[in-house]
């Protein structure tokens, strides 16, 4: 039963990792860009939620109404104002610019908030559990986060494959020049994609803030978890990313159970094993 508990915890954590990964994967799919500052934006969203909840005196879930649109706006402005200039055949500019952004965000947050660990209070929800069977109880909060992750991924799939909006993303990703001939402004489409990505990041940040302690330096680790989930799951497949996140979460949970110091290592080694044995991931849908 102990092990069942562990694995269930791992699965639920995996949902959060999949949410980290979804935003990353979306951007890569639409414009072949990887935002090295992705994890730092998650942390930024957490701090935004902190400020909103403290100044307005509202809870974390209501704060989403402000944080998510705000992050979306930041994403649009960032892409339109800065990152669109880095797009092109050369891989160095977007990588180095987003790396620079990562440093800026981390140190900016450090200056504003110090290195102290913070946490968002969610009240009773934090400790509520659901007794599934004797010996197996699931925290309500992690369960909610998992459900949210599934909803986000399902929503993104729906958006991409059943709406005109998603059609525009896919077309621009296929052939930006011809997409213009359809009346699509590439700069605007890319900016919308980044806005969507950071909106998901906003949600992920708030959920992270409620679930665990955070400080300005934990961004890169979130980026790495998201990235590992994408690679384990397989490129170009959002449901695969969910599977990848779950695999990562379970690996980490098992590692932690064996020895608390092995948690991260277990996740990384799992990633490296998948990279070595099946580099295309568990459920690849190949697109260049």
């Amino acid at each position: 039963m102990e092990w069942t508990n562990t694995i269930v915890q791992g699965v639920l954590t995996g949902g959060l990792y999949a949410m980290f990964a979804a935003g990353l994967s979306l951007i890569f799919g639409v414009m072949r860009l990887v935002n090295i500052a992705h994890g730092d934006f998650i942390v930024l969203a957490a701090y935004l939620a902190l400020v909103v909840t403290e100044t307005l005196g509202i809870g974390p879930l209501p704060s989403l109404l402000i944080v998510v649109p705000l992050m979306a706006a930041i994403g649009y402005a960032l892409q339109r104002g800065l990152l669109n200039r880095t797009l092109g055949d050369d891989l160095l500019p977007p990588l180095l610019v987003t790396f620079g952004l990562s440093i800026i965000i981390q140190n900016g947050l450090l200056e504003l908030f110090t290195a102290d660990s913070r946490r968002l209070q969610a009240g009773a929800l934090e400790v509520a559990t659901w007794q599934v069977t004797p010996g197996l109880s699931i925290g309500l909060l992690p369960l909610l986060q998992f459900v949210a992750a599934v909803a986000v991924i399902g929503g993104l799939q729906e958006l991409f494959y059943r709406t005109a909006f998603g059609r525009a993303f896919r077309a621009t990703s296929d052939d930006p020049a011809v997409a213009q001939l359809m009346g699509l402004d590439n700069r605007h489409v890319f900016a919308l994609a980044m806005a969507l990505s950071l909106a998901v990041v906003g949600l992920a940040g708030v959920l992270l803030a409620v679930r665990a302690n955070f400080d300005p330096a934990i961004g890169p680790a979130r980026l790495i978890f998201g990235f590992e989930a994408v690679i384990i799951g397989g490129l170009g497949n959002l449901w695969g990313t969910l599977a990848g996140g779950i695999a990562l979460g379970v690996a980490q949970a098992i590692g932690a159970k064996l020895d608390p110091g092995w948690q991260l290592l277990a996740g990384h080694l799992t990633f490296l094993a998948v990279l070595g044995a099946r580099p295309e991931g568990l459920f690849p849908r190949i697109r260049g």
Binding site: V34, L92, V97, I104, N107, E111, P220, L264, L265
Partner: protein
């Protein structure tokens, strides 16, 4: 009529001047123990270390197109190997440095086999994951202090040289020698046919491949070579510091962020770039270090600005405006007049 003959020449008058100036600077630096104070020597050692690290990263990213944000893996590996080899295998500290390089190169082989399966941005993050794995593994090694690290035992420190002053001089000269050796090896590599292949890859990988360049093999060799050099520099840095810990040895900020900053500001894809970048970096650091986190923030901002508006860096701008080069790398084709012309003019 016979065809014109030509030969390829590397130096021209301007680069000869630059090279002479560089040689003079080297001599002055070699004599530093006699004219510089202890703090200055220490600063110079750091400068040499960063010039070496940045030149190696430049070779990897600027020439071979392998943008790694995980080179701290080899800095830390070299450092831990130094401590491990001297403490547990009784290797004399000065020999431990090249040995660390060799082992670092060997470690790079399986790493390359894994990370080369990733491309572009994902390759970059993959190298970061590898560095994290190294860091986590290092903190599991209880014999070297686990997560909090350890100091180099006095017996080993003394083995470097009998007196403290001598030790400082020895470490200084090794730092200088290592930096010069690494620069020299990179220069030789770039002047060879390998280097021509690398420059072709840098300019247009697809074209290089279709001209018969074995791109995968060149990249692999460069990656292993860079790992070797980086491990040696890592070993030396921590020989200086006399103390090691996983966070310090595998620090992303110290060994990757700063290195990238130096290379970008100085000029990617040119040998002189990292030298210029290191000087600028240390000048900025002397001026601004008191600002703490704000200093790093500004570094990030400057890197972004340079990347967007002066992507070739300071040296790149200088090359464009003035066509200088210090290191004789640019191949110039010199034509000799056809033989029968000379014969004709003699009749």
């Amino acid at each position: 009529m016979s065809a014109a003959t030509f030969h390829v020449r590397f130096t021209d008058r301007r680069s000869a001047i630059g090279l002479a100036a560089f040689a003079a600077a080297l001599v002055a630096l070699a004599c530093a123990p006699w004219w510089a104070g202890r703090d200055d020597l220490y600063l110079l050692e750091q400068i040499f270390a960063y010039v070496a690290l940045a030149s190696l990263w430049n070779l990897l990213a600027g020439y071979a197109g392998l943008v790694s944000v995980g080179q701290q893996a080899y800095v830390g590996l070299g450092a831990y190997l130094l401590f491990g080899l001297t403490i547990f295998a009784d290797v004399p500290p000065l020999w431990a440095i090249p040995l660390a390089g060799l082992i670092g190169a060997l470690a790079a082989i399986p790493v390359a086999a894994l990370v080369f399966r990733l491309r572009g941005h994902y390759f970059a993050i993959g190298t970061w994951v590898v560095a994290e794995v190294f860091r986590l593994l290092a903190s599991q090694v209880a014999a070297l202090g686990g997560g909090s690290g350890t100091s180099l035992p006095a017996s080993i420190v003394i083995a470097i040289a009998p007196s403290r002053t001598m030790r400082e001089f020895v470490v200084y000269w090794i730092a200088l020698a290592l930096a010069v050796a690494i620069l020299g090896l990179i220069l030789l590599l770039l002047r060879s046919r390998y280097g021509l292949a690398l420059t072709a890859i840098r300019d247009n990988e697809l074209a290089a491949r279709s001209n018969g360049v074995d791109v995968a093999r060149v990249k692999f060799v460069v990656y292993v070579f860079t790992a070797c050099g980086t491990a040696m520099v890592g070993a030396l840095i921590f020989l200086q510091k006399l103390r090691i810990s996983p966070d310090a040895a595998f620090s992303v900020n110290d060994w990757t962020a700063f290195v990238i900053f130096i290379t970008v500001i100085g000029g990617i894809g040119r040998l002189e770039g990292p030298i210029v970048g290191t000087i600028v970096f240390f000048a900025l650091r002397q001026a601004l270090a008191d600002l703490g986190a704000l200093y790093l923030l500004m570094l990030g901002a400057v890197a972004i600005v340079v990347m967007l508006w002066a992507p070739k860096g300071i040296w790149g701008v200088i090359v464009e405006r003035l066509d200088w080069q210090i290191f004789p790398l640019q191949r110039r084709v010199v034509f000799a007049p056809p033989a029968d012309n000379i014969a004709r003019s003699k009749t």
